[in-house]
Amino acid sequence: MNFEIALTGFAALYIFMLAAFAGWVIIGRVPAILHTPLMSGSNFVHGIVVVGGLFTLLNARDVLEQSIGFFAVLLGAGNVAGGYAVTSRMLAMFKTSAPAPAPAHRAHHRSKAHHAKKA
């Protein structure tokens, strides 16, 4: 069995096109209030480059390639960890003034059901 992937020519272009379109549509709906967390969140996502860095480092054949690979993994790991840390910190801060009505409503239903069971 072979699970190697070959993405050449138009197959690659199709992936790029669909991914770019998806990114555009997903981000286009984000309200301006979340633009900073969104930017640092997408910043975190491009940290996936660390996987490429790991591939390069594990396949390094000499000291030069090892150094470059080490550098790439170091920076990529920083991108991932830092991006996650600041994004989760920022997102944890967004609160509404009133407790969200939807969960409160559900809680109400649940308590009703609870009472009914008791009765």
Binding site: I5, P37, V49, G52, A72, A85, T96, A100
Partner: protein, 484 residues
């Protein structure tokens, strides 16, 4: 015995496809403040899966790399621990007001990693064929520009570099640097295809190529001023995404391709949004020395700036029925967001309806003001964006402008000769009374006189935002029970 040589590549493939899905799903959850916090966790799971799976590459390494494999594994773990650990600590500790430069740094790191992958491919002559070579070089170029450009952006935001560096013929010099990088790239492609070295050995050319790319990032970012940073940070976000996507193609890794392109498109969209909010094109932001030509004539506006005491302004707001607050970079610079919300809570306790109006390019990165207010504990349903609140100023008793200038300059609506003419602004001048908290009588970033400050309905409260807000809090508290 059954051989399981196919198993690692199957697991890697599955982990990568999970990661790609979770990234997009996570970003999608970020489109509402209510679900956003879980969005980053979802994306985080994808990242952990992809990173863990990538260690399975050890089963299929290049035969020439086999002898070095144990060392390489150790190096990988060390690099992950050091890079990840330091960035994590920095990210946990950094002040919210320093978020733009932090994001710039992480962005540059991603670009640098992409550039490094390109460099390894080129030095190791792994990329074969015209397409692979060109894509590797393009990704390396963009990644390197993003690395050095983001570092300069960081230095500017951090205050290490204070003045935009501008000189005559700068655009020509920058264009020449870029042209040189492209020519060298051409030489590398030619050398790689023909298998013949031109003039120097290939590795020399590769070094020259990256040197020009890094230099271009520096040269491109140096002339850009502080208030244009929202655009610059968005551009480098897009650049790094693009570079990662391109190197993903070179490594034949669809997770990198998809994640990179999604971020590239997202960054492009944000870049365009920011430029639109300034009524300028992206090339205008990057390639013109904005503010230089805008030395305006002070005599053009009648009236004078009328200072008022902080406590008097505070008492006026205490007895108003509605107040809209317009924060700008000055609020972040003074770290006054906590004081501001303390003051707002006093007003709310007195029955005043308080709302916040945020301009898209207020601050140094998209949405920076929203994050600062969120940090202070301001509920997000009190925060309104330009289009949602601009019509309400006319019915508002007091507009309080804190450390913002150009985004409330009515010249953008009325004065065709103004460099910011046509930029959407917050209509603070339409409120019945305007108070402006400002450090001194200086001009805004664009160097343009602000007619708002001279209006009959406007008073200035001079001082550092934190000090002024403290005085305002004292002023309202000083009313004591008599007010209640």
């Amino acid at each position: 015995m059954i051989t399981l040589t196919w198993l690692p590549s199957l697991v890697i493939g599955l982990a990568d496809i999970c990661a790609a899905f979770l990234f997009m799903y996570g970003l999608q959850r970020m489109s509402s403040p209510a679900t956003a916090a879980s969005g980053i966790k979802v994306a985080g799971i994808g990242m952990v899966a992809a990173v863990l799976a990538s260690f399975l590459y050890v089963f299929s390494v290049d035969p020439a790399a086999k002898p070095l494999l144990p060392i390489n594994i150790v190096l990988a773990l060390v690099a992950l621990a050091i890079g990840g650990g330091l960035a994590w600590l920095a990210g946990r500790r950094v002040a919210m007001t320093a978020m733009p430069q932090m994001v710039a740094i992480y962005n540059g790191m991603g670009g640098g990693a992409a550039g490094g992958i390109a460099a390894a491919e080129l030095f190791g002559s792994r990329a074969h064929g015209a397409t692979a070579l060109v894509v590797t070089l393009l990704g390396g170029l963009i990644g390197a520009v993003s690395l050095s450009g983001s570092l300069i952006a960081w230095a500017k935001l951090q205050g290490v570099i204070n003045k935009p560096l501008r000189f005559k013929g700068q655009q020509v010099v920058n264009a020449l640097i870029m042209a040189a990088a492209v020519v060298v790239a051409g030489v590398i492609v030619y050398g790689g295809l023909a298998g013949a070295a031109l003039l120097w050995v290939p590795s020399t050319w590769i070094c020259i190529f990256f040197a020009f790319a890094l230099l271009f990032g520096v040269a491109m970012t140096l002339p850009i001023g502080g208030a244009d940073m929202p655009v610059v940070i968005s551009i480098y976000n897009a650049f790094t995404g693009l570079a990662v996507g391109l190197e993903g193609f070179v490594l034949q890794n669809p997770a990198l391709m998809i994640a990179g392109m999604v971020v590239g498109a997202a960054g492009l969209l944000l870049t365009l949004l920011m430029a639109k909010a300034m009524n300028r094109s992206v090339s205008n932001v990057v390639f013109t020395n904005f503010g230089e030509a805008a030395k305006s004539k002070p005599g053009a506006i009648k009236g004078e700036e009328k200072p008022v005491q902080a406590a008097d302004a505070a008492i006026k707001m205490r007895y108003a029925s509605s107040v809209i607050i317009i924060p700008g970079y000055g609020l972040a610079a003074a770290q006054a967001q906590q004081k501001l919300y303390e003051f707002v809570k006093l007003l709310q306790a007195a029955g005043v309806v308080v709302r916040f109006a945020i301009h898209p390019v207020a601050g140094r990165m998209p949405g920076q003001m929203d994050v600062l207010l969120a940090e202070a504990g301001v509920p997000y349903d009190m925060i309104f964006q330009l289009d949602d609140i601009n019509d309400d100023f006319a019915d508002t008793d007091v507009a309080l402008v804190i450390g913002a200038n150009d985004v409330v300059n009515p010249a953008a609506r009325t004065d065709k000769s103004s460099p910011i003419f046509g930029m959407p602004i917050l209509n603070a001048d339409k409120a019945k009374q305007v108070y402006v908290i400002k450090r001194g009588q200086g001009k805004g970033y664009a160097g343009i006189v602000n007619a708002l400050f001279y209006g009959d309905n406007c008073n200035m409260v001079y001082g550092d935002a934190k000090g002024v807000l403290s005085a305002m809090i004292e002023g309202v508290k000083g009313l004591g029970s008599a007010a209640a």
